[in-house]
Structures are given as structure tokens and as C-alpha cells.
């Protein structure tokens, strides 16, 4: 599984050249800064700095770009916790409990939790990658549309668990999101729901819609608040409390492991990646937690689950890119472009011929994750000061940053218009007790579910027996059924224990 000669050679490569390491901290800082800016995606951050790597050697270039990738992966979580703005779609589930924690004055702990879970998740995913890069890549090659549909349907189960106080309202919010997610041209070429607007052909722009539903709607409803945190004493920024968040993360190794495993597997599936893995990990953790009912109101386990999964997706995406030469998303496509700029082609032949370079990239990612701990700590400390800004300055500033961020996605007014429409919809939904998070999840999953169901339908010709030919999909569906069964069983046990406790008292 592990080629020791190649490991030795990789360590020699990394230790013989000091220049490779010079780019790690700048890369992490660039990633953190860009990741925390709404509308600036990881891909955009990496694309901006891609031309610079033309003048570097291959290994320093890749280390620089992967440092940006690692930094931006966590950077998106900072506005998710502090302002309910998921900087990237992979930080959506972080907002569910991170933002309520911040509003309760636990922003230090929430940021500490997010940072620690990200670092541990990232480290663990690269350990897994080191040993599993070959088997994972062979699994990825076997994933067809039915398997992808099964994964997406598993993600949809989260809609039920996000329903809040009223299940029908939660489901309606989710179904509305799913339908809005299918607007535009589907994979069979049919155009629906665009109302003649050309930019809707590609579907509703997801990032501005998410920013509108989650952040702008909340900010508008806070127009009469003085500060993000009412209690003045709770607004302090404290290293001690950030560290207590760190320590708290270590108390939940199972959640981190589950998140890492989900992150690596889902992250390695091209086109799915971290935007689904964080939701799936959150949903599974909520289902298995004895205090599942408190998820969404500031439960630290929710932050750990989301962050460990989205950071470990990076390892999974790298596995697919290195082993198969397939970019799972925009960021790995940029990395492949950097490979090409240095006349190197990723894929099976690259792994076979340059195992030492692959191991060197993996080892440098260990170092990046550890350095993220230090650099990220300073970053979250400074970012935490946002809770001390009066709302009369914060609301207009964040709204206008969100508008600029939504414009930055494709340089047209489509982003700002989407943001405004979804801000108003989100405000109304929050006002009448609808969980906007379910709409966001639906929006992310809508086209994925429809596209894969459609491909499955086309391949199978509508014959349900096709599923029997796909053991992978059956396994995923069985795991899903097992997970639901276990949840029902543990919920029944919990209710019985509560009844017994009531009788005894």
C-alpha cells in the first residue's frame, strides 16, 4: 500500500529545497483572506495566482496552490460562523450551528471548533489518502449516475432533519429549493422556468441565492438590533475561549472520524465534493446524536461535523485528481492546469511514474494543515472583532459586500438581482417559521438529483431491475436505510428512557 522507497524520495525532495516551503504561509493567508470574502470562490483565488506559478518549479508551484486551497477551505467558515454567510457552498452546514453559537456569544468557541475540526479533518484525510489513493480511485471509476443519485438522495434526507418546529413547513421549504434548483436547461436540453431571462438557462446562481437566503435575510431582520451579540460581556475576543473550542473538538473523535470518512469518499466523487459532504456529515451526526433536537440552535457537534467533512473533502478531491487525472471541481481543475503548465499530465501514469512527487504533495499538505492551525488562529482572532462592530455599520457594510461578491461571480447583474430576490424571500420565510437552510440544501441538490435520475432513466430505459446490476448503488441505499433505521431505533430508545425518567421522578 505504501511504497517506502518513494516515501524516502519524497522526503528528500521536500527537505532538499527550502524554496518550496517559502510559499506555504503566503498561500494559506491568501486562501484564508479570499475564502472569507463572500463571492470569491476557492477556484477564483487559485485562478488569480495560477499565472504566478509559471515562474516557479513544479513542486513549489503545486505546494503554493494547494496552500491556497487549504486556506480557502477554512476561510469560508469564518463568515459562516460570524455572519451566517457561507463563504463557499461547502460551509453551508457550518452556518446551521456556528451562527447561532455566535449570536449566543460563543463566537470564540465556534471559531475554535471550526478551526480544530478543519485541521484534524484535513490531516486525517491526507493520512487516508496516503494509504487509500489507489483503492479510492478505483471506487470512483465505478460510480455511475445511479450511485450519484443515491448519494444525492441521501443528502436530501437532510431536508427532513432541518424541518425545525413544523415538518410540513420544513418539507415545503426543501421542495421549493429542489424545484428552484432545477430551473433552467436540464441535461436532456429542456428549458423550464426561465421566464425568458437568458442567464437563468444555467439555473439560478447558487452562491448569491445562498447569501440572500441565509445572510441578507437575517441581517434585514436584525435592523433594530444594536449588536450581533446583545450581552456586552459576551462580545470579548479571547484566545482562551478559542482554545476551549479547540479542546471541545477533541472530545468528539467519532464525529470527526465520521465527517472525515464522508468527506474523503464524497469529496472524491467528481462534481459532488465538499458542497454535499458537509451536509451529509451534519445530517448523519444529527441523526445519531442523543441531543439531535438541539442541532440548529448552536450545538457545537454540528460545527465539528460540517467542518471535518468539508476540509477532508480536499483530500478526496486530490485523490481523484492525482490518481485519475479527473478534476472533481474548479479547484482541482486549476491544479491540473498547473500540472499542464509544467508539462505534467495527472492520472494513473503520473502515479505510477512519479510516486515520490505524489507523496511529496501529500506530505506538504500535512505541513499545510499544521501551519493552518497557527495562521488560522491569528486570522480567527482578528476576524472575531466583527461582533464588536455596531449593527448600524455592520448591516449596510455586509449587505453591500454581499452585493459586490455576487457581482464578482460572473461580472453581471444576475448575481445582485438573485441576491435581492432571495433576501426578500428568505426574510419572509424566516418571519413565518420556515427553515431557509432546507431551501438552500434543496437548491444545491435540485439539479444534481434531476440530472442523475435522468441519466439513470436513460441508461436503464425505466427498468427498475437495472438497480440490481449496480451493487454499489444498492450498497449506498442499504447504508442509507441502515442509517435511517438506526436513527428511528435510537429515537425510540431515547423516548423510552425519557418516559422512564419521568415516571421515576
Amino acid at each position: 500500500m505504501l511504497d517506502l522507497a518513494a516515501v524516502d524520495s519524497a522526503l528528500a525532495l521536500l527537505t532538499s529545497s527550502g524554496t518550496a516551503w517559502l510559499f506555504v504561509i503566503p498561500g494559506l493567508l491568501i486562501g484564508l483572506f479570499f475564502g472569507a470574502m463572500p463571492g470569491i470562490s476557492i477556484t477564483m483565488a487559485m485562478a488569480i495566482f495560477l499565472p504566478m506559478t509559471l515562474y516557479m518549479d513544479f513542486l513549489p508551484a503545486i505546494i503554493f496552490l494547494t496552500s491556497i486551497y487549504t486556506g480557502a477551505g477554512f476561510g469560508g467558515s469564518v463568515p459562516a460562523v460570524l455572519m451566517n454567510i457561507p463563504g463557499t457552498s461547502s460551509a453551508v452546514a457550518t452556518t446551521f450551528d456556528g451562527y447561532p453559537m455566535a449570536r449566543q456569544g460563543k463566537h470564540n468557541e465556534a471559531l475554535g471548533l471550526a478551526l480544530a475540526a478543519s485541521v484534524i479533518g484535513c490531516l486525517a484525510s491526507y493520512v487516508l489518502l496516503l494509504f487509500l489513493i489507489v483503492p479510492v480511485s478505483s471506487v470512483v471509476l465505478k460510480m455511475g449516475p445511479l450511485e450519484m443519485s443515491a448519494v444525492a438522495i441521501w443528502g436530501m434526507l437532510l431536508l427532513g432533519s432541518l424541518s425545525g418546529n413544523s415538518l410540513p413547513r420544513g418539507l415545503l421549504a426543501g421542495v421549493l429549493g429542489l424545484l428552484l434548483g432545477t430551473i433552467g436547461m436540464n441535461t436532456a436540453g429542456y428549458v423550464r422556468g426561465t421566464m425568458g431571462v437568458p442567464w437563468l438557462l444555467d439555473g439560478i446562481p447558487t452562491i448569491p441565492a445562498m447569501m440572500g437566503l441565509l445572510a441578507a435575510s437575517q441581517l434585514i431582520s436584525l435592523v433594530n438590533a444594536k449588536y450581533l451579540i446583545d450581552d456586552e460581556a459576551s462580545r470579548k475576543i479571547s484566545f482562551r475561549r478559542i482554545f476551549s473550542g479547540f479542546r471541545m473538538t477533541l472530545q468528539y473523535p467519532t464525529i470527526i472520524l465520521r465527517g472525515t470518512f464522508i468527506g474523503v469518499i464524497i469529496g472524491s466523487i467528481p462534481g459532488v465534493g465538499s458542497s454535499i459532504s458537509n451536509l451529509l456529515s451534519y445530517s448523519e451526526t444529527k441523526r445519531n446524536a442523543p441531543d439531535g433536537a438541539s442541532f440548529g440552535t448552536g450545538n457545537p457537534k454540528g460545527v465539528i461535523a460540517a467542518e471535518s467533512a468539508n476540509s477532508s473533502s480536499e483530500g478526496g478531491a486530490m485523490a481523484t485528481m492525482l490518481a485519475l487525472g479527473i478534476p472533481g471541481g474548479g479547484a482541482t481543475a486549476i491544479l491540473l492546469a498547473a500540472f499542464a503548465m509544467h508539462n505534467i499530465v495527472g492520472g494513473p501514469s503520473f502515479i505510477a511514474n512519479s510516486k515520490d512527487v505524489v507523496y511529496a504533495i501529500i506530505f506538504s499538505n500535512f505541513a499545510q494543515a499544521l501551519l493552518l492551525l497557527v495562521v488560522g488562529l491569528g486570522f480567527v482572532y482578528l476576524a472575531g472583532y466583527i461582533v464588536r462592530v455596531p449593527m448600524r455599520f455592520l448591516i449596510p457594510s455586509v449587505l453591500v459586500v454581499a452585493v459586490f461578491g455576487s457581482y464578482a461571480i460572473d461580472g453581471t447583474a444576475s448575481g445582485p438581482i438573485t441576491l435581492v430576490v432571495f433576501s426578500i424571500l428568505g426574510w419572509a420565510m424566516v418571519r413565518y417559521g420556515y427553515p431557509v437552510a432546507a431551501t438552500v440544501v434543496g437548491l444545491l441538490l435540485g439539479s444534481l438529483v434531476e440530472g442523475n435520475l435522468l441519466r439513470t432513466w436513460q441508461i436503464s430505459g425505466g427498468d427498475p431491475a437495472y438497480a440490481l446490476e449496480r451493487p454499489g448503488a444498492l450498497l449506498i441505499l442499504a447504508l442509507m436505510a441502515f442509517s435511517i433505521g438506526m436513527t428511528a431505533w435510537s429515537a425510540r430508545r431515547r423516548r423510552r428512557a425519557e418516559r422512564l425518567a419521568d415516571v421515576e421522578s
Binding site: 479570499f34 470574502m37 470569491i40 477564483m44 488569480i48 413544523s166 410540513p168 413547513r169 418539507l171 415545503l172 421542495v175 421549493l176 429542489l178 424545484l179 432545477t182 430551473i183 436540464n186 436532456a188 429542456y190 428549458v191 423550464r192 422556468g193 441578507a216 434585514i220 431582520s221 435592523v223 433594530n224 449593527m391 448600524r392 455599520f393 448591516i395 449596510p396 457594510s397 449587505l399 453591500v400 452585493v403 459586490f404 461578491g405 457581482y407 464578482a408 460572473d410 461580472g411 447583474a413 445582485p416 438581482i417 435581492v420 433576501s423 426578500i424 424571500l425 426574510w427 419572509a428 420565510m429 418571519r431 413565518y432 438529483v449 434531476e450 435520475l453 435522468l454 432513466w457 436513460q458
Partner: protein, 154 residues
Amino acid sequence: MNRSDRIVVNWGHIALLAVIGSTIAAYLFDARATSLKVNNLLFVQPAAIAGLLLVLLVLPQCFRRVSADEPAPEAEPLSHLAKVAGLMAALVALALSMERVGFDVATFGFLVVALRLCGERNWIVNLGFSAAFTALLIYGYGAIIPFPFPLTIL
């Protein structure tokens, strides 16, 4: 049921349900008008029907029975709702005008109005902050993103 009970109607919630229901229905009709083939309706039609059924399921929640002796819930001050409406209107104006009047002018205008709505009474602070933040955004985002912002003054 007591004869003196009364029904309280949540008109805002009904309006939201009407918007959601009509959006789903319009989307379903549009999809069916495009094509009745399975490749088009495989997911959209069942999801839309489920959505419409859920609207009907939620609708009774807009009507709440309260007993006559129960005190009426405290109404939200109109000034709060006016502020929310004002902020939304300013945001709509920003999104629609930024390409026409320039990002600098539209952003500055939005910040002045929004700061005032959010409670900043000092005009010097308001105008100074709005000008400084507009410049920071224009030059900051301008340096990062690959698209040019249409500008009028800066």
C-alpha cells in the same frame, strides 16, 4: 369548542404561501408546456405536485383559534416593519441601479440610506463612513476580481 372562541388569520403567512404556491404551479405549467416527455418531467412534476400538496397542508396553520379571554399578542411596531421595508427597497435600488449609475454612486447612495435606516444619526459619520467604505470596496474588489466595475466618479 367554545362559542366565544375567535379565529385569528395570519395574512402575511397566507401571502407567502400564495407566492410559494403560485411559483410552484407556474413552474409546473411552464415545464408541462415545454414538453410532456419523461426526460422533462421525471423529477419536476412529482416534486411540484408534492410542493402544492404541502402548501395545502400548511394552509390551515395560517388560521389560529384563540379563546375570547386570551389577550391579543403584542403587535410588532410599524416603525420596525417600515425600517425593514426601507432597507429592502434600498437593496433593490442598489442591485438595479449599480450598472446604470455606476457602482461608486449606487454603493455610496445605498450606504448613506442604509446607515440612516439602521440608526446612524450623525450625518458627518454617515457620509464619511459611506465614502470611505465605497472607496475601499471599489479599489479592494476591483483589484481582486477579473471583471471591471462600471464607475461614474472614482
